[in-house]
């Protein structure tokens, strides 16, 4: 179905000590589109997301087998530089987590530490990133103000701008709107659709309506297994698997 996958997993397994959290996942995620990963709590969807940028390695006792292939390279290869990987694969978290610094410095942080831009060029990167995150018009006159002065929705868009500033190919979003009010949520969803023209977006969400609204593809996880993966319009109107049907219609809790 997916012609040329941007991210592929091959027999991906993740263990927390002896607990087999992710079981034999084979998944092809298409480029420059939005893919949603859904499932109940503990189904493994966030673990799968964190496997893409090797964030699971930060969790003690966690180990991974199988492959995550991005642009033809297994990111678990010994030769892969994790810092470089996380530059290519950005992540937005559930709670907006701006750094305790100005709005400008938040967005400039990545390009500065990666040494990819400075001076006038850095200003351009910051502006473009803020524009891409649909925040520029709201903050252009207060770039030197603390990021904490922004609203929750604005802080989340700032975090998205911060990710975009290092020019990733893939943006992972773990419940990016679950702490936001409905209007801020819809703004983030609009933004995701805009970003999907240039980036591959993978979102984990508990909100099925959100997954249905924004994503082109959806994967349903249950107990560490990928139960069903396909076009969202098909999955939400006529799923193949009874377990998907039961979950999305709320028949199992």
């Amino acid at each position: 179905m997916v012609e040329q996958a941007c991210v592929s997993t091959k027999d991906l397994n993740v263990y927390y000590d002896t607990f087999h959290a992710i079981k034999h996942i084979n998944l092809d995620i298409p480029p420059r589109d939005i893919t949603a990963l859904i499932g109940p709590s503990g189904s493994g969807k966030s673990t799968v997301l964190r496997a893409f940028d090797r964030m699971n390695e930060l969790i003690p006792g966690c180990h991974t087998t199988g492959e995550v292939v991005i642009d033809g390279q297994n990111v678990y290869d010994m030769s892969v530089d994790v810092v470089e990987l996380r530059k290519r694969v950005g992540m937005v978290f559930q709670r907006a987590n701006p750094f305790p610094m100005t709005i400008f410095d938040n967005v400039a942080y990545g390009p500065r530490i990666h040494g990819t831009a400075s001076g006038k060029e850095l200003e351009t990167v910051v502006e473009q990133s803020l524009r891409s995150a649909a925040l520029w018009d709201e903050v252009k006159d207060k770039l030197k103000k603390s990021a904490f002065a922004l609203s929750g929705g604005q802080q989340q868009r700032l975090c998205i701008a911060r990710v975009l500033a290092v020019e990733p190919e893939i943006v992972l979003m773990d419940e990016p709107a679950s702490a936001l009010d409905p209007i801020s949520t819809l703004r983030i969803e609009d933004l995701m659709r805009d970003l999907a023209k240039n980036y591959t977006i993978i979102i984990v969400t508990h909100n099925m309506q959100q997954a249905a609204r924004v994503s082109t593809f959806t994967g349903f996880f249950l107990s560490g297994e990928l139960i069903e993966f396909g076009k969202s319009d098909k999955l939400f109107t006529n799923p193949e698997d009874k377990r998907t049907e039961d979950y999305i219609t709320g028949r199992f809790g």
Binding site: M208, T237, N238, D246, I248, F252
Partner: protein, 222 residues
């Protein structure tokens, strides 16, 4: 995973919605039977009773539609639930139209009640019987999700069409031979036409049941 009670109220509403749709269908089926009987027996009172019954059908139509809309807005149903509600919203429109045609037949029955018919009715009652069966069985198939029954009922539409065309030829033939028969032949031709249209609406209902069960929208009758 264990079954959840989370959607119990929603489930009950969904069941009730389908139950009311079935009741609406029974009223229309009854109207159709009465309309044809009124035509055959030239019973004006029965025809008028049939016409009054259309109000019941209209009330069901509005009530079911507004409840379906409310479920869509408030419960955001997915998958089978969504398809069931979407199908119900389309089906009530077709059932309501069938009720309108039954009313039209009753109006023709009134018109034809004041003098003896120029020939005894044969093909129209036969056609009505087929259409009644199609409606009854298709609504049964809605309740039981029986796609075989749906397909069988849709196949009967050809027979209804065939009967309509032979009635058309026969009645226009009478008019050509004796224009004085026009006053009776035209209403009878309209009754045949209404029955033929009801069968078409029943075909639509069958297609929605098919969609509800399979998720596939397609014409089942060519």
């Amino acid at each position: 995973m264990t079954p959840s009670e989370a959607r119990k109220a929603f489930d009950e509403e969904l069941v009730q919605l389908q139950e009311d749709l079935r009741k609406m269908g029974i009223v229309v089926e009854d109207m159709l039977g009465k309309a044809i009987q009124a035509l055959e027996t030239q019973d004006v009172e029965l025809a008028e009773e049939t016409i009054r019954m259309d109000d019941i059908v209209d009330r069901y139509n509005l009530d079911i539609e507004s409840r379906a809309l409310r479920l869509l807005a408030l419960q955001q149903p997915m998958a089978r639930d969504l398809r069931t509600i979407a199908a119900a919203m389309k089906i009530i429109t077709d059932v309501e139209r069938c009720g309108d045609y039954a009313t039209d037949i009753a109006l023709m029955a009134k018109k034809l009640a004041d003098q003896p018919l120029f020939k005894p009715l044969e093909d129209i009652p036969a056609m009505a019987k087929m259409v009644q069966e199609m409606l009854r069985e298709t609504l049964k198939a809605f309740a039981t999700r029986d796609l075989k029954l749906v397909q069988h009922m849709i196949s009967l539409d050809d027979d209804v069409d065939h009967l309509y065309h032979s009635l058309y030829d026969e009645l226009t033939g009478f008019i050509k031979k004796d224009p004085k028969l026009t006053d009776q032949a035209v209403p009878l031709l309209l009754v045949a036409r209404y029955l033929e249209r009801i069968a078409d609406h029943i075909t639509n209902i069958g297609e929605r049941i098919y969609y509800m069960e399979t998720g596939e929208l397609k014409e089942l009758h060519k």
